[in-house]
Each structure stands twice: as C-alpha cells, then as structure tokens.
Amino acid sequence: MHSYRNQHKRKVTVIVAAALIFCLFLSAIAIAALGDRTLGQGSRGSEVKDLQKRLTQLGYQLGKVDGIYGEKTAAAVTRFQKERGLKADGIAGKETIAALKKLTGESQNASGKQVGFKNSDVQLLAQCIYSEGRGEPYVGQVAIGACVMNRIKHPSFPNTIAGIIYQPGAFSAVDDGQINLQPDETAFKAAREAMNGSDPTGGAIYYFNPDKTSNKFIWSRPQIKKIGKHIFAR
C-alpha cells in the first residue's frame, strides 16, 4: 500500500515536471527574439522571420519571408555584411543583427524619444521605380523617381507620393499590378536619391518609351532628354 502510493507520487511528479519543461520549451520558442542566438543556414522560426522582414525593409531581396534561413536569406545577409563592412560570412551573428536592428529602428528626437519611422514613402517609390524601370540604367531609374518628385511640386498633380502613383491611369505598372513586385536594392537606392532631391531629368514630369507609345498628348510635350529607353518631357 505504502509503496504503491510512493510509486504513484513519483509518477505524478514526473508528469508534472515533463509538462513544465515542455511549457518552458514552448514559451522559449514563442518569445525567442532576434539577437538571442546566432542564425545561419537551416535556422527556422520567428527570429528568422524577423531577420528576413528587416532585410526586406532595407531593400535586400530574399524571396518570401517564410521563417526559413535558406540560401537566398544567406546571400542577402552576405550582401548586407559587405555593404556594412562586416565579416561577410552569411551568418547572422551578434554584430550583424545589432547593425540590422539599428538600421531598421525608429528615428529619435534630441532627448532619445522614439518618434516613428521617417522613410515610409521610400518603399512605395522604390516599387514604382522597379515596376516601371527595372532593366533601365541606374540614372534612368533615379529619373523615374525624380519625375514623381517633380509632380509633387507641380500644380497639375496630386500632392503626395501615393496620390501621384495611384492616380488612375498615371502609371501602367499600377494598372497591371506590377507595382506590387518586391523592388530590388538598386530601385531602393534610386528612390532614396530621388527623394533626396536629385534630378537627372532637368525638371521632367512625363516620360515614355518612344517604341511603345503613340499617345499624341505625351508626344506633344516638350522633350528634355533621353535616358536609357525613356524620353523625359515636361
């Protein structure tokens, strides 16, 4: 009788302990944050997803944000490391993750208070540039972004980047859905440069591919110059 009770007790203890360990394990997975451990090819989980999200936010194309550290993610990490002067090994260690976190963090005011992200339009402008001008030389891509920026200052157009890009009929890439493609690093660079005020077009507000359009209105605009395949006009 006595031994049976002892045995029973032990059984209960073992079960409770196992359950506890299991719970701890689960919560460890659930609350694992980026930076807790080194990530490399083969890693999986929410931390990898966070890593992928941040890389995508900076314009490093890596395919789907799926939480699996594959070849593409490793390649993106390597590119990031090269551009930041870090050891380029494709493994997301402490240093790499810290740099990534800093660059994707919020802006701060003088007293260190977080005041939000200040570059929300870069993504949309990069999407526009990528969908309208991938394959064009870099300057041609900046030029497309500059056209959007010039329209903001022009009275005939809406006053925001989104207003201009999504104006019905304004960009063919918006009408056929290509605007939703994930832009590459070049498009992001071009978008930043255009938003910074750089304008290789000399004030253009229209551009078109002369081989693909016969639109009389667009041909009637005063032309400024040709960059890549596009003619820029005002």
Binding site: S107, K189, K225, I227
Partner: protein, 478 residues
Amino acid sequence: MRERTKRKILAFTSATLAVAFVASLGWGVYQYQMLQQYKLETENNYQRALNDLVTTLNEVETSMAKVKIANTPVQQLLYLGETWKGSIDAVGNLSELPADEVGINYVDTLVNQVGDFSKTMSRKIASLENMDSEDLKIFNDMHERVIETNRSIQKLANEFYTENLPWVDKPPGLLQKMGFGKSMRASAEGGESEGQDEQAGQQEQQQQGQQQTPTSLRGGLQQLDASLQKYPPFTYQGELDKHIVAKPLGLPDGEINENKAVAVAKDFLQNIGYKEATPQVTGLSQEPLGGFDLTYKDAYLEISKKGGVVTYFRDQREVSDRKLELKEALGKATQTLAKLDWKLDVTSTQDFGSYVQIELVPSEENVRLYPDKIRLTVAMDNGQIIGFDASPYYAYHHKRNLKPALTMAEAKEKLKKDFKILENRLAVISKIGTEEALCYEFRGTAYGEEYLVYINANDGSEEKISRVINTPNGKLIQ
C-alpha cells in the same frame, strides 16, 4: 455483354460531363458574384470621392467669397485657411476619380493653385501685410473660375445620379474586338489597333468635346476639363512649380560646343580618379542647366551648354565591400572637391552602407548659402565621388547683399526663452518661389527636441523653423 459495356461507358461519360457542367456553372456563378462584389467596392470608393469632391469644392468656393469681404487679419486668415485646406482635400478627391491621367489636368491645376495662392496670402497676412490690388485681382479671377468649375462639377454629378451614367465608357465587347460589328469606340479610334488606350482616350475627349452630353463620368470630367482650357494661366508667387528654374542665375557666361564639353568632362573625370578617360557625347538635352549628355564606362555626365560646367554626374559602377569609416570618406571627398575648386561645408550626411549621401553648401563672408547646395554620393569602398549634383548651385548662385541690419544679440531677443542655443551663424535661406532671406540661424534644443530657428536679419521676423531628428542613417532636418 458488349452492348452493356458500351451503355455503361456512355452512362459514365454523360454523368461525368453533367457533373463537370454543373461544377463549371457553379464556378461561373461564383466568379460572377465575386466580380460584382469587387465592382461594387470599387464603385463605392469612386462614389465617396465624387461626393467629397462636390462638397469640398463648394466649401472652397464659399470660403473664397468670404475672404474677399473680410477686413481683419483674424477673419482673413480663417477663411484663407479653409480655402487652403479645402483645396488640398479636393485635389486628393480628384486623384481618386477614374479619370484619364491627362483628363483632369486643368481642374487639378486650378484647385492646386487656389490652395497654393491662399497659403502664400496667409503668410503675407500673418506677417501683418495686406493683400494688395494685384493679389486681390488674382484672387477674384481664381474665384470666378472656381465658381464655374464648381457649377460644372455639380451639374455633372447631378447628371451622373439622375441618368445613372457609368463611371467609364464600356470597353468594346469580345465580338467587336475580333472585328465583327462596329462599336462607337472603334469608330472614334479611327481604326487604331489594340493597346493604345491612352490615345483612344484623347480622341474620345475630342469627340466628346463636340457632343455636349457625356456618356460616362470619365467623359464628363474630360469635357469639363476641356472647357477650362480656354482660360489663360495664372501668374502668381507660390510654392508650386518651382522645380525648374527657367533662367539659372549661377551659370558662367558664354556658350560651349561639343568638343569643349568633352574636354570639360575629361578634366572632371580625371580629378575624380579616372585617368585618361574618354567620355563621349551620347545625347543632347533641352534644359536650362544642360546641353550635352556624356557617358564614359558606367559614368553619366550632364554638361551645361551655357558656361560649360558639370551640373550632374553619376557613376553607376558596382560598389564593392565597404572599407571606409564615414570620417575617412568625408576626408577623401573634401580632397577631391578641392581639386575641382570647390570649398564647401558639409551640412548633412546619410549613411547607406556601401555609399553615403552628403549635402554641402558654400559660404561667402561667413554666411552660409543654403540655396546653392551641392549633393554628393561617395562610395565607401574607396572614397571616390560617384554622384555629384550641382544643379541647385548653378540655378541659384548669384551675388547677394549679405549685410544684416540686425545684430546677433538683437536677433537672439526674438527667440523663445526656453530655447538653449548650441550654435549660431548667418545664413541665406530660400523662401517661396525664388525669394530668399538673409537670416540668423540658431541651432539649439528645447522641450527634448533639436531645432533650427531662422530669424530674418533685416526685419527680425521669424522666417522658418526646422526640427532635427536622428534617423538610423543620420540627422534629418524636417
């Protein structure tokens, strides 16, 4: 036996076909319903934009009428503010309507200019000036046109609701596309082939300009827009449309030819680190700051015809691994600039990893000339300048009167008492249009924020306030 097998096969086949038919029918109905659902949602958005536009434009028109009679700054500012805000809203609504891109240019322009002009007038009245007779004339003309536009849009909206017009004209049906039967649109296009919708829109506009009743809202908007084209454009001082400077102030005298342009480019490339470069003219451009487009390997340059200077340069080469710190890169860039005969102060840097974007301005008699800025991009693999944009410099640089009427101490008096000054200097800043102001610039902190406050060095007014924040890439002036 055979007969039975045959019958079995037949029964099986027909059953399969029946199931397939029912399934595809169901799928079709489902797709149709989905389509209707999406269409409804889209049209609801259009509906909202149209209603908002009618309401807002009506409010803008009313506020403008009130501005004319208001005789105290309080009321003037109030109604100018309403006009300004209403215009911005109306432009937003216009951009959501399914018009052609070029279909509502004139309405857009008018409304935007009304907002812009109201903003300029608000500033004027806030600095205790009055709208002069010329301002009032422009404002009256604008009001007249807004009344007419407002009436037309209301009429169009009314027609749209009462006659149940579609949003856009029906696209040609499948049969018409294949060449059977003649649709209205096909005849309007004059036999143009597929994929030239924009052109079709243009011709549609012309056709509908002749007919007086629109067949769709899009057509109606184009008609309305065409009716506005007969008016002359406004000339006024505002913030819009200053992205091109018709007459650059800073270009040297004289015109150059192609050979000289090549020589200028070669010299520039040499100083930047390309020995024995052989740039070639690859295009001509029609802009006040340009003339010759040149390329050499991955580099692209714009040389001005007037004066023969490099206004824009961009090297599109691949940048390899980052090897430099920000400070080293800035040092190297400054050295290169010295070779190019530029002496400039760095005003901001943004670090993007493989490259940095830098803004620099020149000084004259210890006064910073902010309008005359130069933008640089520096590669972080070897510190070479890969981007150089001097168009603001050549657009705005000119001889200015840099003698302040106020002393620094007098200007300080104008600041809020809580403002802790960290740095101060004289600077020229740009105002509305091509206007500029000589100011005392005060960098300092208050309420946990960093600010740049500009006090006009001639009349002591508070010209401009900027807020400085720290982004992950560097300081940003908002």
